[in-house]
Symmetry: C2
Subunit: 141 residues, 2 copies
């Protein structure tokens, strides 16, 4: 449950035209284990294979371009990554950073939007993140 099957990973990579390397497989497994958007630094820590930061940056960019990985931004000054098929969103507290997950996705809106667009056909990816002050921070103000 915590890992992709070898077949699933292989087909993801093959479809994208990316070679099946030890590093990429390890990264996809690590992303799968995270179960939430994770920053590059934390991803690197969680890896079982030694992979250089530079390589990690390059891999993730390719994965995002290929649509395998979802990239989002939580206003913390760095990028967060998650497997596309685990895709979900968060409310983040702007005071303490506390997060709550929610399963509602903006997908229904995407169809409307792409239908109206003249320059774009399909939306390959999106970000959707909410920010607020959590109840406990609110009380302590």
């Amino acid at each position: 449950m915590a890992t992709y099957t070898a077949n699933e990973i292989d087909s993801l990579l093959e479809t994208s035209g990316l070679k099946r390397t030890r590093g990429r497989i390890a990264v996809l497994h690590a992303l799968r284990k995270a179960h939430k958007p994770i920053a590059i630094e934390d991803l690197h820590t969680s890896l079982t294979e030694p992979i250089h930061f530079v390589t990690l940056y390059r891999m993730l960019k390719q994965f995002v371009d290929a649509g395998i990985v979802y990239q989002t931004d939580l206003r913390s000054g760095k990028a967060y990554y998650e497997l596309q098929r685990e895709h979900h969103h968060h409310i983040t507290c702007t005071k303490c950073g506390h997060q709550e997950e929610f399963s509602i996705c903006a997908n229904p809106l995407l169809n409307d939007i792409s239908k109206k667009s003249k320059d774009f056909e399909d939306i390959t990816s999106h970000t959707f993140e909410l920010f607020s002050v959590c109840n406990s921070c609110q009380r302590s103000t």
Copy 2:
């Protein structure tokens, strides 16, 4: 039309408990003129008053916290800012950077989400950005 009235700016700042300085007024005017999310560097270029980058960073953080300014991320490695009341979203081409604006906002979803949340009452702000490959880049592949 391209500028706030002095009164409007004054009340924005007053409500937020921020002092009415020459710099802040100039920045709000510049944001108003932009009519779209703008990066700090471009904002700085467009200013009529000389304002230090450091000050600009600090101002924008305050504005975002105060709810005057909307902060978003276009996966370009830097933050974009826009007046909250001009708030709208974009589809960005991941190849050439071409943007198309759309007026549909995720607001209807926000209500649903905050109602279901146990840790958060009101959503103060959100990001919602779409990514795709534009038709013209698609053709040239």
